[in-house]
Symmetry: D2
Subunit: 180 residues, 4 copies
Amino acid sequence: MGNVLVLYDSKSGNTAKMADYVAQGAKDIEGTQVRLRSAEEASADDIFWCDGLAVGSPTYVGVVSWRMKRFWDEIVPETWGKVDGKIACTFSSSGGWGGGAEMTCLSLHIMLMNFGFLVFGIPDYVGEAFTLHYGAVVAREPKREEEIAACQRLGKRLAQWVAVYVDGRKEHLPGPIDKR
Amino acid sequence: MGNVLVLYDSKSGNTAKMADYVAQGAKDIEGTQVRLRSAEEASADDIFWCDGLAVGSPTYVGVVSWRMKRFWDEIVPETWGKVDGKIACTFSSSGGWGGGAEMTCLSLHIMLMNFGFLVFGIPDYVGEAFTLHYGAVVAREPKREEEIAACQRLGKRLAQWVAVYVDGRKEHLPGPIDKR
Amino acid sequence: MGNVLVLYDSKSGNTAKMADYVAQGAKDIEGTQVRLRSAEEASADDIFWCDGLAVGSPTYVGVVSWRMKRFWDEIVPETWGKVDGKIACTFSSSGGWGGGAEMTCLSLHIMLMNFGFLVFGIPDYVGEAFTLHYGAVVAREPKREEEIAACQRLGKRLAQWVAVYVDGRKEHLPGPIDKR
Amino acid sequence: MGNVLVLYDSKSGNTAKMADYVAQGAKDIEGTQVRLRSAEEASADDIFWCDGLAVGSPTYVGVVSWRMKRFWDEIVPETWGKVDGKIACTFSSSGGWGGGAEMTCLSLHIMLMNFGFLVFGIPDYVGEAFTLHYGAVVAREPKREEEIAACQRLGKRLAQWVAVYVDGRKEHLPGPIDKR
């Protein structure tokens, strides 16, 4: 059954905390195997292994951190052209609201599309005026209930799409969107 | 079996020609039903109907044309939150290379992700130094062999992902990437 | 002395309120002439008139609203190629945090760059974990102190760059960044 | 008078060749001082020194190369908040048309806006159906006349905006746009 990789880079620990919640959410779908890896631990094999992946980077001047970018740049010769069709999503912690977390998720989407992955956003609201249309985003440490819920929802939705599309387990189709 | 919608806006006719080639490509996968609709003809029902959609807009100042944007803005109340999980890709004709066709595809991706669609790019090269990583892009009319091939490849890949993921017809998994 | 145009589209009134605060901020720099126009009132003459412009759109599926896009698409024949070098910035109100307000500002930046405008973001923080690196963004109505401050700071910074760069009034160079 | 920095990363040498042409173009405006630096040679002092900067990266999976990103990530503590208001533009060489060169320029724009720079695109056409609205882009080595012209035009326009806006030398205002 579906394999989910949660891949992150983190210096302050904030994006690492998000990654933990994303992994938690993915485990909500029974049968899902989850691997949690930092950009420094991960290898091309992790990318080959997974059916779905969630990629998280701190927001550094609005674009993926150089450490996470190096991981992807360096595995190009080994993986590019052999991994398309996997399902992917993103998350980021920034220094403040309006500080570029959506932009950082965008840079990750662009990278992932280049590999031929299918990238998705999430219409659901997870709190009052709080959503994750372009990936889960928080300012600094994920602490408030809706920030944690955003990370969990992201992981769960990833595992759902993997269950439905890769494993053909249609019973895991997400129910109606949470519009609040 | 899989339903593919090719939705486009076009004033000069260039993006309309791309749409024809995209539709042709989708028909390469047997069993695929294809609808071709302009933004003025299409309705929310077309979005409900399809499993996969390719959306094309002319490049107008680097962002989706207002007519195509109006289509999506106006169907939000009826469709938003009810159509996520469909598979989508994009195409655009601009006035010149370097003129924003990739950017226009990006604006379409952003719109589509907001609805919860799974959007994809294509690693394959379809000619000498010619690819479609962020959707099929041409300058003006699609005329050269690789420009036409890009549109066809886009439609075909869309129909393949729909066949594999929505219909579970794994025999339609794309073969090895064309790296040239 | 410097002419600043604040151009906006708004249906719910939220982006219109932001526009008012942006205009207020621009008036902080003495000598600045400020025009406030909706996309339906504005004409190509307003674009010719201004030295700096702030453009605001509601976040509709993560990209500029069709009404604002129509304004720009329709003035292309009259203005494109005659207005480059003006200084520009953006703002947007979305339905929720993580809902695409940064993305909507991005679509506006892409449009403005196509015209040859110089577009800028703002490093300053205007509240605890609250900034406007890619334009002023709020969720729904601008109500909290930092949301209002973001709009005002945007307008003021625009008027400052116009004063410094267009008028040569170097005494209006912004002071040190507010890092909080 | 105006100081222009041309900062690039290059592995194959293609983006380095673009950088040479950009630097050539900047020298077209008399009085302009030009520095050409790779991301490995450059330091924070180069950023403090310049009034205008052109930043070039190869297109690696559609986003700035990790080496160029590392340069910017690492100078944040020293420069961020002290360098806003400089004028900036971008360039990129990709593996093929449609391969993400515009996207890579976009990631550079996002980074530069975060620092508070004023970033610009160029409306001018420099060849048949060939322009540089979002920075100069080429596929592989810059060889064709219009590819070289795009790089030179970028450097020249940067030097012009610096002359006009920073030095107040209004005689260097660009003439009418080249629409072809």
